[in-house]
Amino acid sequence: MIRYIIGRLIGSALVLLAVTALVFVLVRLTPGDPVGSFLGFAAFHDPRQAAALRHTLGFDRPVAIQYLFFLGRMFHGDLGQDPFTGEPVTKLLAERAPATLELAILTLIFSTVIAVFLGATAATHRGRSRDTLIRVGTIVGLSIPNFWLGLLLLLIFGLYVNGILPPGGFVPLTENPLDNLYHMILPVIVLGLPNLALISRILRSSMLDALARDYIVFARVMGLPERTVVSRIALPNAIIPTTTVVGLLLGYLIGGAVVVEVVFTIPGVGQLMVDSFQKNDYPVALGTTLFIATAFVTMNFVVDVLYAYLNPKIRDLYLGQLRSRDA
């Protein structure tokens, strides 16, 4: 198991390295640079000032050299500074991360709990009205773009029905936990709906698969109550494909929170990212992208390990490949 984990860890590190290189180059391919946005018209009027600033910020050097410097600093835990405010990028990320993580985790819990219930219900009532209702509902949920749903809910709770749910804003968890959760309700619903739909559809199909097995028949013949058969025997067997999706979703949610954060004015990493790209703010853009990529890769890693734990076959398969490569 340890060998498996180490192998996966090295793989994850390589992926992250590739991500930094890709983003570093891509950001620089966009027209304009931070100096242009920072100086505004002054950059046109005084090219020498612009050149000087470029020199102090290091943007005049070849991209490859810049990248190496960036990597060197990154391994010391330094992602550079925001040229607009002079604040270190790591500090900005640390300020913004809690809101994003909270939103992602709450959404994950919300959508998983409801999806497991819906998926299991649909599978056990296959072909009946409850199943049809859930299937149609999840298709609708998957089809609604979340920015549109966000704006719609904003309109409803901000304009037509006042005072029930706050149409945006954010209260830090440390300040007032209840108020914080209260403000999270709408964003969590908007961000969670498509995921909820996806998870429940996946669970429904793997649940149907599990329910068709003979060990289910055996359990029923033995006289176990149907509820035990479904929750203790079918569900644990059906949950494996779902864990993959749920794990990957957490990574996706941290990235996908961008739109929801902007719509509901939540001061998270997503908002920071949108701002930084609008301003051509290389260091912050790179930092936020790296943050999201790290979240994604980390979750991937956790899922891989969890998967190997849930299903020993996968671990053996992976190690078998390693061994045959050694030989």
């Binding site: 097995r213 003979d214 060990y215 028949v217 006289g223």
Partner: protein
């Protein structure tokens, strides 16, 4: 010498009403999975239920173990109706089902020890954990597996060994009846032979009554005392295996036997193998349901349903050819 009847199936019918077709036009259609099936098995003997896929063999099994309830008819275990709530518990213990796919019938997340011990717990048969493990150990031994299998998971064990595990699990609750639903269908030949012998030994040891569902006639011939042949939900021939599977009376059984591979070409049967497909159990042929494929069908067959008639000692078959005159066939059809 004759022993008492252990399992009796009486006029068992299982019909499924199908969903209305699109736009709800037309009549509700019915699928006749099992239609008026009667047979009995005496204590310690084996009845083979044979027939092509989809003829209703497994539906009979599912009704006996209580997974489905019959549309009509009764199932009696030691003279008591299994449908009675009062008998439910005893039936669940006395009748054990073994299915054709051992990989599917064991929870792959649980060890073999857990699989064997679970029925003991559900039926409250053994108390302490050490007793449970000891029982599991002796059960494995009984089916020819060593105790080292206890800690293994189904994915680590071969198909033949897994089928032994499912047998051990079934025997855990000391049943009197085993329903074997194609127990050897997924196994290769040498493993199959060993399993057949194991089941035979266990039957003698434990005085088990066995309903053996199979489509393999050579297996049926090897293991059974009685054989019942099903076609489209009905039993069309039943009797001692030595009669039914060696000198069959019904054209269908004759054709089935003709399709068997025989090692020696000079011993090939005189009967022709079957042509065509089994008709749908929804739109069954009129009269004798076999007339569409019968090489010997004649005028009366599509019109009149034949009844089971005695053709030898304890040997029944339903075919107009076996009835002395068409008149008697017609009169018996109007009464049935």
């Amino acid at each position: 010498m004759t022993r008492p009847v252990r399992l009796r199936v009486e006029n068992l019918s299982k019909h499924f009403r199908l969903a209305k077709p699109l736009l709800l036009i037309g009549p509700t259609r019915t699928l006749y999975a099992v239609d008026d099936v009667t047979f009995e098995i005496t204590v310690g003997s084996t009845l083979a239920l044979v027939g092509e896929s989809g003829c209703g063999k497994s539906t009979v099994a599912r009704n006996i173990v209580g997974l489905q309830s019959p549309t009509r008819g009764r199932i009696l275990l030691d003279g008591r109706d299994v449908a009675d709530r009062a008998n439910r518990k005893a039936v669940r213990r006395s009748v054990q089902l073994i299915s054709q796919n051992p990989q599917s019938s064991l929870n792959r997340r649980r060890s073999i020890l857990h699989a064997i011990v679970q029925p003991l717990r559900v039926h409250h048969l053994v108390d302490s954990w050490s007793q449970q493990v000891a029982r599991a150990r002796s059960l494995l031994e009984q089916v020819g597996l060593s105790a080292k299998y206890l800690d293994r998971y189904p994915s680590e064990v071969s198909g033949g060994e897994l089928q032994r595990v499912t047998i051990a699990r079934a025997l855990a609750v000391e049943p009197t009846v085993l329903i074997l639903d194609e127990p050897t269908a997924s196994l290769d030949l040498s493993v199959k032979a060993k399993l057949l012998n194991l089941l035979r030994e266990l039957q003698l040891q434990l005085d088990l009554t066995i309903l053996w569902i199979t489509h393999e006639l050579d297996v049926a011939r090897h293991v059974s005392d009685q054989t019942a042949v099903m076609y489209l939900g009905k039993i069309i021939e039943v009797g001692p295996s030595s009669k039914v599977l060696r000198s069959p009376a019904h054209p269908y059984t004759q054709s089935l036997l003709a399709s068997l591979a025989v090692p020696d070409p000079s011993l090939r049967s005189a009967f022709r193998p079957l042509q065509g497909e089994v008709p749908s159990p929804i739109d069954r042929p009129t009269g004798c349901t076999f007339h569409t494929r019968c090489p010997q069908a004649f005028s009366i067959c599509p019109r009149v349903v034949p009844n089971l008639t005695l053709v030898g000692q304890q040997h029944l078959a339903s075919c107009h050819l076996l009835v002395p005159s068409p008149q008697s066939a017609a009169s018996s059809a109007s009464s049935g």
